[in-house]
């Protein structure tokens, strides 16, 4: 028989199969006899074994942390808004805290954009060989400042939200905080990892949006209760 007839047995042999003498192994046993005298098949077995070994040792590709954020968001697609914002659906009034939240977001967007666009210009002044600071650092600082401001506003108005909405918001913030932590961990290992940098900024940006909506929703709830109080007052007069 020629070598081609043993294609499957050659593969099985490379994968570790050996004839055991049982009747079902007759073809494998025949291949082993053929192999003993065939230089071509011996070379194939040696090369395939090297390839199989190298393939099994290939490095892992790690998905960027932002992928989960994207998947979680896409699950809520029919709602047209990201799933973490689903309970917040509705028109938001232009009320004072909303204006503050929007202003903070605009400030942060502007500052982030400036920091991001000015960063490369500063690079040539850095000493060669000095440890590079992650590119995200300036933008991250601005996001953190905005988040701190928005968190304070949200905390002041927390009581205006019902328990269910608070629970959903808390859960969604936890998802984002986890994405932020994972991105930071990835950047700690590899500061120049562009995917991790982008993931981190995506997650921070989403958190700003969520907090902004929280403030707006609380303001909406407050305005609703003020209206109700006003209506009750009118009825009592």
């Amino acid at each position: 028989m020629n070598c081609e007839t043993y294609e499957n047995q050659l593969g099985d042999y490379v994968d570790g199969a050996r004839a055991s003498g049982l009747p079902g192994d007759a073809r494998l046993a025949a291949f082993e006899r053929h192999l003993a005298g065939c230089a071509r098949c011996q070379a194939l077995v040696a090369d395939f074994t090297s390839i199989r070994g190298a393939a099994a040792r290939l490095e892992e590709h790690v998905p960027p942390p932002r992928l989960w954020t994207r998947v979680a968001a896409s699950i809520g697609e029919p709602q047209q808004r990201p799933w973490w914002r689903r309970p917040l659906a509705g028109a938001f009034p232009s009320w004072a805290p909303v204006a503050v939240a929007v202003s903070l977001a605009l400030l942060i967007a502007g500052a982030t954009w400036l920091a991001w666009t000015q960063e490369p210009a500063a690079a040539p002044h850095e000493a060669v060989g000095a440890p590079a600071e992650p590119d995200t650092a300036p933008a991250e600082e601005h996001y953190e400042a905005a988040i701190a401001g928005l968190e304070q506003l949200a905390a002041w108005q927390d009581a205006s939200l019902d328990a269910d909405t608070r629970a959903v918001l808390k859960q969604n913030l936890a998802v984002l905080d986890r994405a932020i932590s994972e991105s930071r961990a990835a950047l700690a290992d590899e500061p120049a990892d562009a995917l991790a940098q982008e993931s981190l900024l995506d997650a921070l940006d989403t958190k700003v949006t969520l907090l902004q909506d929280t403030v707006a929703l609380a303001a909406d709830a407050d305005a609703g209760s003020d209206d109700a109080a006003g209506a009750a007052k009118e009825l009592n007069q």
Binding site: E7, N8, L10, G11, D12, V14, A43, L44, A46, D47, F48, S50, I51, R52, A54, A55, A56, R57, L58, E59, E60, H61, V62, P63, P64, L67, W68, R70, V71, A72, S74, I75, E77, Q171, V175, L195
Partner: protein, 179 residues
Amino acid sequence: MRTADLELAARCRAGDADAFEELYRQHARRLFGLVVRMLGSGEDAEDLLQEVFLQAHRKLAGFRGESTLGTWLYRLTMNHCLDHLRGRHAKMSRATDSLDDEGTAEPMAPAPAVPPAISRMDLEKAIDALPPGARAAFLLHDVEGFEHQEVAEILGVSEGTSKSQVHKARLKLRAMLRR
């Protein structure tokens, strides 16, 4: 394993967000590596895997536990990858067959053996040059470590076809790595 899969699928169907995240965390890592190598691009892999998990979320209602959740997800992923590659192929108007069928004949002249220590870069590049069908079978069998029976189940082919595709892939890789 099947019971755990069925329970996890039931929790996902019931809208338990933690359950779906658990499913994602269990499988995303291995699937991402596979998709990066199938498509040759991390960016495309992200987009495709996002679509796969969205489809999985929608299709979990139809999961009956006949295969493991892992196999089910791999099948969904490979179908997406092969569709994506077929689309890319069509766009590029390349003259190809359905999956593969380029010749696998070995060079007539004696060639040097594959180096015992194959460089990772060389192997990655060679895998990227494989035709989609052979690449899929090779990645599942030799990189991911699935048995031929599982590869056949994931790709929806016979076990013999899986063996033949892996053989074809190894022959092509050998030819590329000996150059």
